[in-house]
Amino acid sequence: MAGGASLALGREATYTLGMDTLPARPASGRGPLAVVRFLGLVLLGALVGAVAALAAVAFVSAVLALNELLLISPRSRMMFDHPALLLAATVAVPALGGLVVGQLHRAIPERRPHAPADVIAAVQTRRGRLPARAGSISALSALVSLGSGASVGQYGPLVHLGATLGSLGARLLRLGRSDDNITIACGVAAAIATAFNAPLAGIVFAHEVVLRHYALRAFAPVAAAALVGYVIATNVLERGALFHVAETAVPRPWEFVAFLAIGGLGALVAGAYMHAILGVTRLAGALTLAPSLRPALAGTLLGLTALWVPDILGMGQETLRFATIAGAFGSAELLLVLVLKIAATGLCLGMGFSGGVFSPALVIGTLFGALCGSLVGQFSGAPQETFVFYAVCGMVAVTSPVIGAPLTSLLIVFELTGSYALTTAALASVTLASPIAAQLFGRSLFDIQLEQRGLDLSAGRGRAVLRTTPVAEHLTDDCVTLHPQTPVAEAVTALCRARHGEGYLVDDRGRYRGCVGLADLEAARESSTGPTRVGEVATLARPVLRPDTSLWDAMAELQDVTGEALPVVDPAADDAFRGVVFESSIARAYLAHSDELRREEHGTG
């Protein structure tokens, strides 16, 4: 048990040991066959990208068509010349949409829509295999939510849809988990590249948010997918860029201080936004109303508020645009719409509408930036040529902490505007916003949600993988179980015959009663005054594992144990003894997982 002894030294030693005892397999990126296989993966990435991009285009078009049909878009509201009916529709459409969404979610096992957080969890735990059925129901319910004007985003559903399609592709081709993770990232990258018309942002988003490591092996397929998505977007989707900037405007040096400050304050706005969503989710749990009816309630409240402030309906594209125009809103109005939009989005997402957090964050951030811009304008008396800079800085300061993607936010600004001046201004805001929000709230809303569901990604993928791998995978019944009434001599014989040093006491009802060592049994047999029954022999101090104990926790237990194996006991079944896991199995599994991660993250092909 040399392995066990060194392992007890802690994690550092583990890795050293891993190198010694499990030499990395010869890198698979050598030789013509590996190259062909790798190119096949790139091709698959492009294919996934094409399918995800087309799905994204169809999704976006369907949302726009529904918004026209259901009197959500300002254009359709303006063209509809029956004021009383329009008021009725403003309340009825989100309410009925919520009703449909609630019913749809009853068909998902978790009773909630799947979202980017589920994608992150699947990749970070190397589980992959996103469920196609829950994925398609979530996409459908997101379509209904967005179509009926709920204050939710469209990019989250697009990302999840792309990821689900990618995972489906990997499963159809019977690829392994590593490749499954890569095709998921491909779907994500293509969805972002298509939706924003920004291929670089798509690639970086897939790495920054989903994969969370950089490997050349993943880069090429993801880049191919993003590129295909971009090509499809530029040829099919004809949409205006999010921002336009007058070429002449360049911020004065002191304005960068303002951009930095917007970053710091934006982190707080992002925190308020995330906590609005999380808070409503918590409160909704305490409601007596059935979960499937909660979205309908949220829709009704949203519709009633929209009668007063229609800007909060839907994704808010018009509101976003107006917020970049100096003078479109007064300062008080900006604050009002900002607060209501946060409340509306918290309400919709917390009560169970399906949709993303990014588009509302864009609106909220831009309103916040516009507010800062108009305040600075008022106090400095400066002309409003750089107003759009403030709007964009506010936008990235709020969005990047929410999705945990500072680089993606910057790249979106860069690719949409092509303006270096604007990107540097945004950089100033992101510099403060992301770390401050990460310190105060967490890496992203997705991470906070996952942590609440029991998946802590704060220490990276290595721990997350080990934490989600149950030790019971290595359970064996290759052990000696002893009844407490067994005579000591008989027990010694049994252990010797089985060539084991430890036996496990299991009573009549199958309950685990402790662990005895061969040495203690021998001593008892030799002693004339000692115990005659196994049950009377002193048991070894031995931690027990539960069937759902993770590999990570098992490793932690091993730190204080020298012995052969750890018993697995099921407290749910009256402490029933399930078998044992050998310490060497735990160590081997630990090393194998580390090795797989290492190959995935550092392999080239």
Partner: protein, 373 residues
């Protein structure tokens, strides 16, 4: 339908002349009670139609054409249909007004089946540009509302973006704008650099409308025009330095009358000019016959030689040549030429057809408030 069959004959000159003689010899007195009354826009536009459409039609069929002056709007048509006294057989109207009139039941339905194929046999449905056929109207030309400016008004500078229309600092001087919300609203909002795709969505909000009117309010002096011949005149007389107007009128002033103006093509708003037959017209069959004649490839190409409107037929667009008097290459002056159409705005006709009344009320209220000051 003797007349309908005749017009389907190949339009070779000797046969037409023969026909014309035969008609007049046979029935010289029918002209007056059987005249076709066309409601059209007057000025250079009417002169071009006279040369390319009306005279050749009369020459080919013997039917005289009387032209009534039209300044847009539906009030006259509405009244005439309600009273059952429709004095016109055919109206040359913008597509947006045709759509609104059609929705109100003021127009006869029109089928594209009555149109002649292209000279090479391409059916009309494929030859016409997209969205040319409405339920009650058929597009014959594409024109644009553009801004023109006096070349001598801004020494050393020239406007190159539609936002310059509202830039009184760099381009000072009075402007002439059409007394309608259409086009003015679009340009005012475009001056905030919003993308074309989102324009009508933004104009659909109170906030968007307020922004546009705030922009219009920034102009010190606006001369409002209603008839299309006014803006070139105001420019020619130096009353204004910039004016909105129809590209055909500006062309006429520029090329035929040597007025020192230049067209700003950025932000041009393209519109379809259509033929429509009013409900209760006295001679609807004759009107259809003329419509078929006037939308043949030859006639459309000829019309674009007289006035720089883009023909609605692809086969006609490639046949556009030089202006008959000045020899100017007309392809460079039609709104659909790639160089001119780069930043063209397609007017959202469906939006206008449904909102015109309310938008006009809103605009009028603002106008009255402005003029009351």
């Amino acid at each position: 339908m003797a007349r309908g069959e005749r017009s389907r004959w190949p339009a070779s000159a000797p046969r037409l002349a023969l026909l014309w003689l035969a008609l007049f010899a046979a029935d010289p007195g029918q002209a007056d009670d059987d005249a076709l009354t066309v409601l059209s826009w007057g000025g250079a536009y009417e002169r071009a139609q006279q040369a390319a459409l009306f005279s050749p039609y009369t020459a080919a069929t013997g039917t005289p054409i009387e032209v009534a002056q039209y300044d847009g709007g539906l009030e006259g048509l509405r009244r005439a249909v309600a009273e059952g006294e429709v004095p016109w057989d055919l109206i040359d109207m913008t597509r947006s007004e045709a759509m609104a009139a059609c929705a109100e039941g003021l127009l006869e339905p029109l089928s594209p089946a009555l149109l002649a194929p292209a000279p090479d046999g391409t059916p009309a449905e494929e030859d016409f540009l997209p969205d040319s056929f409405g339920r009650c109207a058929i597009t014959h030309s594409i024109f644009a509302t553009v801004v023109a400016y006096r070349r001598d008004a801004f020494p050393g500078k020239r406007p190159d973006s539609i936002a310059d229309l509202f830039d009184q600092r760099r381009f000072p001087g009075p402007r002439a704008l059409q007394r309608t919300p259409a086009v003015n609203l679009e340009w005012a909002l475009l001056s905030y650099r919003v993308p074309h795709e989102e324009l009508y969505g933004l104009l659909s909000t109170r906030r968007g409308l307020d922004l546009t009117l705030a922009r219009l309010d920034e102009l010190d002096e606006i001369r409002w025009w209603e008839a299309g011949d006014v803006p070139p005149r105001l420019l020619a007389e130096g009353e204004v330095v910039m004016a909105s107007g129809y590209n055909g009128r500006f062309f006429d002033a520029m090329v035929n009358r040597g007025v020192p103006i230049e067209i700003l093509w950025d932000g041009q708003v393209q519109e379809h000019e259509t033929w429509a037959i009013p409900r209760g017209a006295a001679n609807p069959e004759m009107a259809r016959d003329f419509l078929r004649f006037a939308t043949t490839t030859d006639r459309l190409a000829d019309l674009s030689r007289h006035i720089p409107y883009g023909p609605a037929r692809r086969s006609a667009a490639v046949r556009v040549t030089t202006h008959p008097d000045s020899g100017v290459d007309m392809r460079l002056h039609i709104p659909t030429h790639p160089l001119n159409a780069e930043n063209a705005l397609a007017k959202d006709e469906a939006w206008y057809a449904r909102t015109l009344g309310r938008i006009q009320d809103y605009f009028r209220a603002w106008l009255e408030a402005r003029e009351g000051q």
